[in-house]
Structures are given as structure tokens and as C-alpha cells.
Symmetry: D2
Subunit: 335 residues, 4 copies
């Protein structure tokens, strides 16, 4: 059985997902494309030697009988509408983050899914599929370092021109918000944001870096540095201090070099190089879950929790205080 996929949004990330589904994932076939820019669909068909039907109307694609499942990779504010449409059509849908641009939008998707009675939505939190995070989670599950107490994390990128306002929180740290609660199997109860002196090496007026501090239900203290103009590379750090040891996210494997008075390893520059294998695994699992008829990746609930957390962080950033993160109980449906 081959799962026939329709992709909405064929910009950079959408294009990559089409390539991935066509060339690297057995059991999937991209049969339909849609984008506000039709020519990008055409070039995909031509570049990847596909024969996907190009839809001018996203909802037509979603409803089409030739489409089994949907990938939503369009502009963020459109996600909510397309996900709801897919749920109405009773089709599995993979949605890049954000699930919706407001927590309320996420909440309504949850309600729609609950009403439909079947989990259909997977949110594109690919870090859970990254081998490095999986090794770290295994280390915690094996109790190698005892119960976690403190997490020191960093998300650093070389440059992010125009990355202003609250984007550090709403656009980038959302990945940390998802993967850390998955890692700890815990939820957040409060957030604080500290703004240290700004780097001078970025667009004027931009606040960079930020430090987000979260407290979990279990009392674990999490510190996440977001530094998107860090210059030296794309560097994801996560260190867990436990009761009897400390575990850190594996660094990507690279040649050990002795040259020019340095013993060195390469640090990635381009974020796209960091999670290639995670994206592959994410889609491999998604296709398997569709074949099995049962979604098992990051759910609409996970998308909602991240949205609520981001809201609290934005509020904390502006208040300078600890702000509570209040979540309703998780429906059994999402256990």
C-alpha cells in the first residue's frame, strides 16, 4: 500500500518535504500540490520528475479522492484553516509548526478532533525524531544521572536578519518548548524571561539574546538561551543536571582536526544540516502511522501546550516577572 500525499505550501520547507517523501521514504507518493505560487508546484513536478496534480484551491486538494493524507507547509497563519479542513475531511494531516497562531486556534482544533473521535493531526516538532535527543531521553529513562533537577539549554544560530519582536519565542523557542517537555515527560508551570545586554553584532534595535526560564510541575528549573545572531555557528545545546550526574546532548559527529595550532571539530553553520535525519525519520514514522491507521507523533494537544507556553513567555518578557502557565487537564484522548 502506498500513501498518496497532497502537499499544501511548496516554499523552501514544503519543497524539501516533497523531495523527502518521493525519494527517501518508502510507501509514500506525492500526488497533489498546492501553493499560492503555482509555478513553484510546476518546478517541483519537473525537478523531481513527479506527476502530481496541481490544485489552485487548497480545500479542493484536501477533499480530493486521490489524496489520502495532507502535509501543510504553507504560511503559518493559514495552518489552522487547512488543518480544520483536513479534520472535516477525515484525513491524516501533518502540519508544520505553528499548529495555529493562537492558543485559542489550537484549542479549537483539539475540539474538532475530539468531536471527530479520531487523532488525525501531527505537528512538525521534528526534534523528537532527532537521534541526539533520543539518546539523551534514553539516558534519562535509564536513570543514568538520577532524577533531573536543572536543564541548561541554548539555541544559537549564526545570523537572523529581521528576527525581531517576539519571534525568538514564537518562532524558534517553540521547538525547545515541545522537545523539553517530551524529554522530561513533564509540563511547565511558570516562565520568566531575562534580557541580558544586547549583542552589538546584529540589526540595530533588536533584543538578542533572550534567556527563557521555565519551572516544571516537578520543580525542574529550565534555562534556555535563544541567541540567533551568535555568529559562530548553529548550535543546539541541552544539558541535564540530575541527582547523581550530568548528561548533555551529543554534538554532531565530525572529523577531529589538528591544524594551525588548534585541535578542532566542525560546528554546523546551516540549520538545515542539523535535522535532516530527524525530518526523514519524522516522515517515515508518519507514513507508518497512517498505514497503521493510528497517529502517534506530536499531537494537536502538544501544539496547544506549546502555544500556551509561548504566550506566557511573551507576557513574562514584557512584565519582567515570573508568569504562570495554566493548562487545562489533558484529555484522555491524548494520553
Amino acid at each position: 500500500m502506498t500513501v498518496k500525499i497532497g502537499v499544501i505550501g511548496t516554499g523552501a520547507i514544503g519543497r524539501e518535504h516533497v523531495f523527502r517523501l518521493s525519494r527517501k521514504i518508502p510507501g509514500a507518493q506525492v500526488v497533489a500540490l498546492n501553493d499560492v505560487n503555482i509555478s513553484s508546484c510546476e518546478s517541483i513536478n519537473s525537478d523531481f520528475d513527479l506527476d502530481a496534480k496541481i490544485f489552485t484551491d487548497s480545500h479542493e486538494l484536501i477533499k480530493s479522492d486521490s489524496v489520502d493524507a495532507i502535509v501543510v507547509a504553507s504560511w503559518g497563519p493559514t495552518h489552522e484553516e487547512f488543518v480544520n479542513s483536513a479534520i472535516s475531511a477525515g484525513k491524516f494531516v501533518f502540519c508544520e509548526k505553528p499548529l495555529a497562531v493562537t492558543a485559542e486556534g489550537c484549542r479549537q482544533i483539539i475540539d474538532a478532533e475530539l468531536t471527530g473521535g479520531k487523532r488525525l493531526v501531527q505537528v512538525g516538532f521534528m526534534r523528537r525524531y532527532d537521534q541526539a535527543y533520543q539518546q539523551l531521553k534514553k539516558c534519562l529513562q535509564d536513570n543514568t544521572i538520577g532524577h533531573p533537577i536543572i536543564l541548561n539549554c541554548a539555541h544559537r544560530a549564526p545570523h537572523a536578519p529581521g528576527f525581531g519582536g517576539d519571534m525568538a519565542i514564537t518562532d524558534s523557542l517553540v521547538h525547545e518548548f515541545d522537545v523539553l517537555r517530551w524529554l522530561l515527560d513533564d509540563d511547565y508551570v511558570a516562565a520568566q524571561v531575562i534580557l541580558p545586554r544586547k549583542t552589538s553584532l546584529c540589526d540595530e534595535g533588536l533584543q538578542d539574546p533572550h534567556i527563557v526560564q521555565l519551572r516544571t510541575r516537578q520543580g525542574i528549573h529550565i534555562s534556555i538561551e535563544s541567541f540567533v545572531n551568535a555568529h559562530y555557528g548553529y548550535d543546539i545545546q541541552c544539558q541535564v543536571v540530575g541527582e547523581k550526574g550530568v548528561a548533555a546532548l551529543p554534538e554532531p559527529a565530525s572529523v577531529q582536526l589538528r591544524e594551525l595550532g588548534k585541535l578542532s571539530h566542525e560546528i554546523l553553520i546551516d540549520w538545515k544540516d542539523r535535522f535532516v535525519a530527524a525530518f526523514d525519520q519524522e516522515f517515515r514514522d508518519w507514513i507508518q502511522s497512517i498505514k497503521a491507521g493510528k497517529a502517534n507523533g506530536p499531537s494537536a494537544w502538544d501544539g496547544y501546550v506549546v502555544a500556551v507556553t509561548a504566550d506566557a513567555c511573551v507576557k513574562a518578557k514584557h512584565s519582567g516577572q515570573f508568569e504562570n502557565i495554566d493548562l487545562p487537564p489533558r484529555p484522555d484522548f491524548y494520553q
Copy 2:
């Protein structure tokens, strides 16, 4: 287009390749199985939910119209016969090492391929597909450390009960023989084998470790330690000393741990965990090359060179001297 594969030999490695081709490689389908032990074919069909035809005769499988390409993963001494049969049938064939148990056997396969006029054979030297080796090769190609002068390599495994005679050379170091000449784009001209004191922590009477030293056409000195009862782990090392720097094979990524007075990283124990991704890539490339109608992996010539090198090493081991490695010129066909 889907490449229809027949697999000869469904023991441990054959079974893994069937799984790989069925679940991880788009564009391939395992349609035929053959083994001296028919029940192993049956259990594969059942375990992996396949419907492959089971042949009792290897040559029937090779000739079958329903089979596009062959994987030979049977007992080593049978490889030569099946590869020759596949060449006669004009089909692409992937053959696990050794290509043949004698250099002469390899030579005859080359002759058959030359006569047929088309490269059909790929030998299972998967290390070329390993990301770590590829990163190291890229580093050399980028001239980061200048021209290579010395290679210090090690192949260490925790235990190898019954691994006696010349098996360290003929069964295990053959992978190094292939990958190092690929890495350096060079050939060997002489070999010496040094036998240090034996470890006491292995089967009595066994010589372990060995040190094989090779000299290349360019005058590069290569030292390869084979230590198959090294206890502590499965550890592949390769360090290249160049004119202006030193580069070492990446260690597999793993959690950095601080516990019990140690700052540590895990070392693999099971060799099967080391090259999983390389095997996947090897087959992904093989399928692509079949679709493109043009073999591009390790060739029958590469299999032959390794066989000649192994012969010289075995001779050197027994003589205690440097022994020459004499190769005929490489046919243009294999450039």
C-alpha cells in the same frame, strides 16, 4: 519504476538486507528468496509481511524473469559462482564480501564482466558509504591537512571466539583494505605484518592483535591494528597525518556524561550498530544506480585488489618480511 530484487542467502546479513530493501529503501521490492535453509526464507516472508517467491535453486532465481537484480549474501565460498551466473544473465548483482575466496576467482569475474561489456557487479564494501569516512575523505579532498603521509588505523572488536588462522586479515581487515585506498585514491605496493605479544584475554593459541603495515604507490605508510578481542568495545579508528595537519575519523555521536567521577562518552559494543546508516546508504545508492542503468559502487576490480592485498598480507604474516603487492594495470573499463 520499482527494482525487483532476488536475495540469495537469508542468514543474519541477508535477512537484514531484505528488511532494509523492503522498509527503508524507496523503489525496491524483494520478490525472490533463496537459501540452503528454506525455512529461513519462509520466516522472512512471514516476519516482514512479504510475498516473495522462494526458489530452491539459486540459478533459477538468478535467471527468473521476475527478478531484475540479485543480492548475494550466502556463504563466502559460493559467491563467485552466483556472481558469474548473474553476469551471464546480464543482471546487476550486489555481492557481500568476499567477491571470491581467491584473487584468481575475482580475476575471472573481471574477465567475465569485461567480456559482457557492462559493469554489473557491486561488492559490499559499505564503509565507503559511512558518513564518518565520507567526512574524512572530504577533509582530505579539501586539502585541509595537506598531502597524507601516514595513516594510523585500528579495527577493534570486543570478542571474536574462534577467529583464528588468517581470518583477521581475510575476513576483517579486507574492509580496511578497501576503504583506505578509496580514501587515499591510491594503491598498495608492499605489506608487512607485525605480531606483538598476544593478549591473554582470548582463546588460547590465538594470535591477537595483528599489525598490518602497508606502503602505497605514493609512499604513504599505513599501519592497521586488528584487535578482535579488545574487550572494551567495537572501535574503528583512522587517523591521517598530513603535511600540515592531522585528521581523525569522527567518533559516533553520543551523550556526554558526567557520573561516578568520569566524563564519558559511550563506545559501541555491537559492530552491527556501527554501520547501519552506511548499509542503508549503500543499498539506496545501489538501487539508484540500477535505475540509472550504470553501476558506480565498489567494483569487481576493487574486490580483486582487496583479494590480492589480503594474499600479500597473509604471506607477509608468515614470512615476517615486507612482501610486494603486484597488481596488473587497472583496465580503463573500471576507471
Copy 3:
């Protein structure tokens, strides 16, 4: 010229300093000893083959014509009195931390020194003499990572039975308070203390770990974890995030080991092993400064700043808020 030293307090640390001054530091001679426990002085004379005069009265030792300079290594609450006495006698005095148990006591020592018109006091903040911290400072001075923005520090010890109340701050973090402002050439303006969930692996009722967060005049954010029952080792971490790079305190050099499935380096267990060379260098410099007639180590002012910082941290720990750190202007005398 040999500097004749009188040592007050010959417990564990005093005894070590006598050994150091006698055996490892050229140009110094321990000529006088004093302790509440006279027998500890006697055993030092005998164990180290010295002939130091034993004083039953600390002030007699300080005033003695045979003594050029004083080392105060007695019980913390006695430091203030002995330092003041040494200033009155016009003698150089090395005082283990704390300079005084209250900020006010430190302030009075400063006043006495100012009145005397000569810097005589050095406080035992030995981390400034540690090669690792000096390498890190050099790296910052060389502008290798650009202007510092964030510091992530940790002070972890395996066990600290009975280390309760505010001791984590007043007894242990004082070393961080001193060395970090020296490292950054900056001062603190505010402190916050975060109390994560307690470790279960320590004395009941004890709060461990603590996280102290400081903000400097330049807006640098500092996070210091104090975890004195961290089990796995004695581990001092200091990572500086700068505008274009990140620098971390060197780990102590140790054998790289491959054994039992681990690639590992030893982590120290005993804190005394960590700063041996720093203590040596501290006293070597102190003796040189006495010969040169001019104190140049950590001053009474530095001792005072640390005391004020510790007070603010204790207050912040109990309030759960950011607390200001208010310092008077530094007298020119201490520039």
C-alpha cells in the same frame, strides 16, 4: 632576602600553607606558629622539620620582631580581629576567606588600611591564580569571543554533609563572586536566587542545589549553580557566551581512557586536588609582592565586595525577588 612568616591557625588549610611556604616557595620561611590547639603547631614543627616559634597569643605573634608577614588561617569569625591587628602592626597579612563575617567588618578593615595609607591585606581568593581561569581571562582579553553577554557557571561537589542554611552562598559561592568579577572586570548590580526541586540524595531538609543569578553593571547575565551533593565529582564549570563565540574553563588534564564501553576522562572527586597549583602560585606571588613592598593580590576591597554580594544573595534567596547590590564607589587607593 627571606620573608619570615607567622601563621595563625594550623588546622587543615593552615597546615597545608605551612608545608607550601616551607617546601615549595623560595624566599619564605615559617618562623612562627599559633593555634588554639598548641599540639597542632608542635606536630607541624616536627612533621615538616621546622623550628618555628610557637606563640600562645596571636597578637604576640603578629607584633613579634621576628615576623615579617602574617598568614591568617584560623576560624572565620576570628579573621577580622587578626587582620586589623596586622594592619596596626604595619605588616603584610594574607587572610583566608572570609576577610570578615560581615560586610561592615570588611568596611572597617578598608578604613584601617586607608588610614594606614598602605595596602597590606591580601584575601585568599586563590582562583585568580588558577591556570584554567587565567587562560579563560586571557581568551576574553584577546577578544576571541567578543564582548561577554552571558556566564553559565557551576560549582559542584560530591557531598557536603551538614552544609545547610546559607552556607552554599556564604561559604562556597564567595569564590565565584570574586573570580567572576575579576574575570569580567565588572561589578554586580542585582541578584536573584532560584531554588529548584531538592535532590533526594542529601541530608534531609537541606536545600540543594541553588541557582544564583547576577546582573552586572554592563548588563551581563550570570548564572551560578551551587550543587554540593552532586555525587559524581568536584566539578567547577564556567562558560562565557560572547558576541561571536563561547569559551569554557579548561577541564583538568587527564588520561583519555577507552575501557568498558566508555571513552572517558577522570573527574576530580576531592576539591583539594583542584587548586593545588593555584594555592602555590598565590603564595609565590604573595611572597614576591612582599619583597617588592607592594601588595597586588585580591584586596580588602575585593573581600568587601564579596561580602556585600553574599548579603544580597542571602536576601534574594529568602525574598524570591531580584535584590539590588549597592556598592559605594571604589576608593582610588584600590585601583
Copy 4:
């Protein structure tokens, strides 16, 4: 008691030793200097604020009643004469390597010492005093990796203009010859020298690198790379493969840096920075041994063994064969 030292040879290394003995080693005083270049003695007196007597005749210095012990740091070919003279005078003598330029010369020094009946000679093999080598030796003594089987060593320096002929062996590898037999508590029985392709980045006509391979009495295989124009830094490597693990010489501690797409540690460039602490410890121990009246450092026997080893390596280099290393039994006097 202060040991009064006379120093013969006040070039680069002699000058450093005078500084060391004057400023860093308690219990020593440099009271006499001699050099073919008198002005270098004068500048030492002036630069280090010493008042040492300057001798124009080395033998007068050795015999002088004001001199307790001798440091020989003059031109290599003169060592033998001065050491013999010191033995005749019954004085402790520290001699930089080589003890004598021929094995026969070393042998005669041994005979003289045996005749005198007291160990007086210490040879300047400072690596035994290096903390890194001491940690590695401790690791072997603790049996952490089981019995050693293979040693992979490298001595790499950035540049060595004019370092031709057999100097790589006689001038530089002698340090490895000494420290490795000390490390293993073993002796060499055979040597082979392999000459790989020459680096193009050095003086024309020079052979660089060399690989010296030694076999010990216990059957341990040792490979030592000497690469004195390695460009990238001064880098001493020593890896011991044991029956159940692998231990490597600690890398010098240095700041871990993330900048410009690299995670790096500094590699030393200047060899003088590598062994500063080892030289200090060497002389500290030497002074202690003199006070105790009993030499305990590297002996005349050790100097002799190294000379015999170097001779065999030079022979092997020219023959291309394994050459035997024949030593007489070690006299009990040197146990």
C-alpha cells in the same frame, strides 16, 4: 641547608635552569657559572640579580669548594668530560642529554660511577617528571587497561630548520626512548625505522617524518612517529593499547572555544611551553635528592640504554631492517 650549584653552559637551556633554580626551587642557590661565552654568564648575573662567581675554566668550577653540585648544560660533545670530572670530584651532577655522544662514553661514565661506589649522575630526561606521563604511568600501574601490548607515539614539532642527518633519532627521539621504557618498566630488544614519503613542507633533501618501531623484551610493539616539520603545532602523543582498554597521554588543558564554525582547543606551538612544570619538578626532586644524599632520577645507566637504542635505530634506518638492541645485564648498583 641550601645546595650551592655551579652551572656549566649558560645558553638557552642553561639560562632557564639558572632562573628556575634561583626563583622557583626552594633550597638551591646558583653560586657559580661557566660558559665559553663569558658575557652570557655576566648577563645572567645581572638579569636575575645574582652574584654567582664566573669561572673561565669548567674544571675549576667543578672542583671549587663553594660548589656542592653541578649542572651541565653545555654543548653536547662536552658533557662526557664534565660529568667524569664531577664524578672524580665526588659531586652530584645533573647532565642535560646526551650523557655522552657515544654509547661507549656512557659506558665509561657508568664504570667511573661504579668505581666511585656512589650514584652521582642524573640525566636530564625531564619527561618522567611531566604530570601527563605520570598520570599515564599510574593508569598502567593501576591495571586499568590490562597488560600493554602496543604503543602508538608521536613527537611532532612545527618546524626544525636544519634538523638533518640522524638528528631526529639522536637529538629528539632519545626523550621517547627514555620515557617509554620508564613507562613500561621494560627494555628494547629490536628496532626498525620506516621512512614514508617526505613532507614537501620542509628544507629540501631532509627526510621528515621518520617512524621508529621498537620491540620490547615483553613483546610490546612500539611505534614512534618523529615529524619535526609538522606545521600545526608541538604535539606529543602516546597511546597505550592494553589487553582490555586503551589509555592516551592527557592533552594539555586549554580553553574550549566555539568560534568561527569550530569547537576547538589550543595546541601548543612552542615546545618550551610543554614541559615547564616538568623541568621545575625535575630540579625540585634533584635538589631534594642531593639533600637526602641519594640520587634517584634518571641514571647514567638510563643514559647508556638510550645511547645504545639510538645507535640501533640509526643502524636500522640505514639498513631498512630490524636491528637487535643488545644490552649487558643492568648492574645491581642501578636497580
